[in-house]
Amino acid sequence: MSDEHGGIFDGLIGAESAQWAFGTDFEDPLAGVDTTVPDGVDHTELAEYCLMLGDDALIMSQRLTEWCSRAPDLEEDIALANIALDLLGQARLLLARAAAADPGLLPALPEGSPVPAEDALAFFRDAGQFRNVRLAEVANGDFGHVVVRLLLFSVARLALLERLRASSDTVLAAVAAKGVKEVTYHRDWAARWFLTLAQGTEESCHRVVTALSALWPLQPELVATHPVELSLARAGVGVDPATTRGEVDAVLDQVLAVSGVARPDHPPLEGGGRTGTHTEDFADLLAEMQMVARAHPSGRW
């Protein structure tokens, strides 16, 4: 019963994992990368900055994965999974970078626990220790909601990553260079769907405008400055989000104008995720995301 595709059965046991381009058992996402912190940069600040960028990506990704098997069509299911995978990849690099820069950030785990640093940060921190913006964490709504959330998020993140490519930190510069290509697609996907829904039917227009109103108060947090961001921007390592504000506004105005949607006028929501103040929805997200890992603090996955 052999046939030309029978080779597919071979090699599950005792095979060389070298047949896969990167092996199968790699654990450190920064393996082989120069992780030296540039001179004169405060390690704890760099770590906290990486957490901000990494948590944004991780929590956005987590919300996007909830769409898996629930999208309006197969093509959009695949697109949303792609975007979630890109952001998850960015999160892994940034969390690993945060842990390498300041091992003091790592939550306590049982002695000998094999849990890698990126996972210790993702699964064993409590809500107050996360640094992501609240836009990333609020509960999902309808498809219009995910389109608006991603539009606001990716417009700001792209403007930031474009500038971060010039970071004197080689890891951040590399993450940004890769991320720019990815987030360019995310922004394009979101903008095209925003236009489609705004100009589609009466119902779709109503839904997308409703989502925009609901999420608009969370937009300013994306372009607000945290002291760590300012300090690292001065050191040539980070980007002050306030410097992207003009570009972010211009891009959003352009998308809104071509879609025929008025710019909302809601005031920003007080408080902020960058200092660890989160929403009620965030507790549910973390409970889901962390439940298996926390049940097995010495587990090997």
Binding site: E27, C68, D77, L88
Partner: protein, 319 residues
């Protein structure tokens, strides 16, 4: 197309079709084919496509709870691959003249089936590994011969699908291997998962040959290449050494090597259970269809908006 041909012309076309099958060549979308061949293919490819789409659910449940970021990425990419497989297979079906929307309607109306295995629940993260190892492993045994199936678009889709499935199987096995190197609780979780999935995996090859209603003609047409029992035996023989290497016990007291046959003997799956799950009375049948129906209904306004936008843009372009 069968409709327009005169009786004599149809005889010639049928002879050409039979000759193509006999040569083990491919039938292509524009070739003449008997109506029954077309119907059989639509039924089989649609069932396969639906299985990929419904199959996103049991594992998709665990993406949000994946216990490491690496595992989350692997699982998300895998479930995304399944959506992709559904897409190629619906496209292969469209070459036979049936649209994706029509097929989705038949699935939701319960008029077309999907693989019964997805009507079993996923209860722990080990199930993600077990589904990769046993369920994808069984699917590969079923599907590799289909790479040589007589209908071209189906065979070509299957080549790509099998490559991805074999990657999924390897990832599933690697997860279980890693968990077996972990804590006692993790090892127990793996064994418990294998206990639940072993028999349903054996049922994936369908009823015994003597009771398989669709098999004979599908074999004659080269749509199907091996019998259910042959494939089931191949799967058992392939899996036993993998279970040993993993360090788990397969839950079948009758499982042993038979020197005379050169194969493993094994027990009989519970065919009454199989019949019940196929009939719609499995643990998750209603839940799986409800989930798909909800996604379909929730997305209706988006699909309408996209159509409205596209036709408006086309009109604007024409002006």
């Amino acid at each position: 197309m069968t409709t327009a041909a005169e009786p004599e012309a149809e005889e010639r076309l049928r002879a050409a079709f039979e000759a193509t099958i006999a040569r083990n060549d491919r039938i292509e979308p524009r070739d003449w084919m008997p109506d029954a061949y077309r119907r059989t293919l639509v039924r089989q490819i649609a069932q396969h496509a639906h299985s990929e789409i419904i199959g996103m659910q049991p594992e998709g449940e665990w993406i949000g709870r994946a216990p490491s970021l690496r595992r989350k990425a692997i699982l998300l990419a895998k479930v995304q691959d399944e959506a992709g497989h559904g897409l190629y297979l619906y496209s292969a079906c469209e070459t036979l003249g049936v649209s994706r929307a029509e097929l989705t309607g038949l699935l939701l109306a319960g008029k077309q089936k999907y693989s019964s295995i997805f009507n079993y629940p996923t209860l722990s993260y080990a199930d993600v590994g077990t589904i990769g190892w046993l369920v994808d492993g069984a699917a590969i045994c079923n599907q590799v011969p289909l790479c040589r199936t007589s209908y071209g678009p189906y065979g070509r889709a299957m080549i790509r699908i099998c490559k991805e499935e074999s990657f999924h199987q390897r990832q599933g096995y690697e997860l279980l291997m890693t968990m077996m190197r972990g804590t006692d609780a993790q090892r127990a979780m793996v064994q418990e998962s294998v206990d639940r999935f072993w028999w349903p995996a054996l049922m994936m090859f369908g009823p015994p040959d003597a009771e398989s209603t669709n098999s004979a003609r599908s074999m004659a047409w080269g749509v199907k290449r091996n019998s259910n029992d042959e494939l089931r035996q191949r799967f058992v023989d392939m899996t036993v050494p993998q279970a040993d290497a993993l360090g788990v016990t397969l839950p079948d007291p009758d499982l042993r090597w038979n020197d005379e046959r050169g194969h493993h003997d094994f027990g009989e799956p519970d065919w009454a259970e199989f019949a019940a799950v196929v009939r719609g009375d499995g643990p998750c049948n209603a839940q799986r269809l409800r989930h798909r129906q909800a996604a379909h209904d929730d997305g209706a306004w988006v699909r309408e908006a996209a159509s409205a936008f596209a036709s408006r843009s086309a009109q604007a372009g024409a002006r």
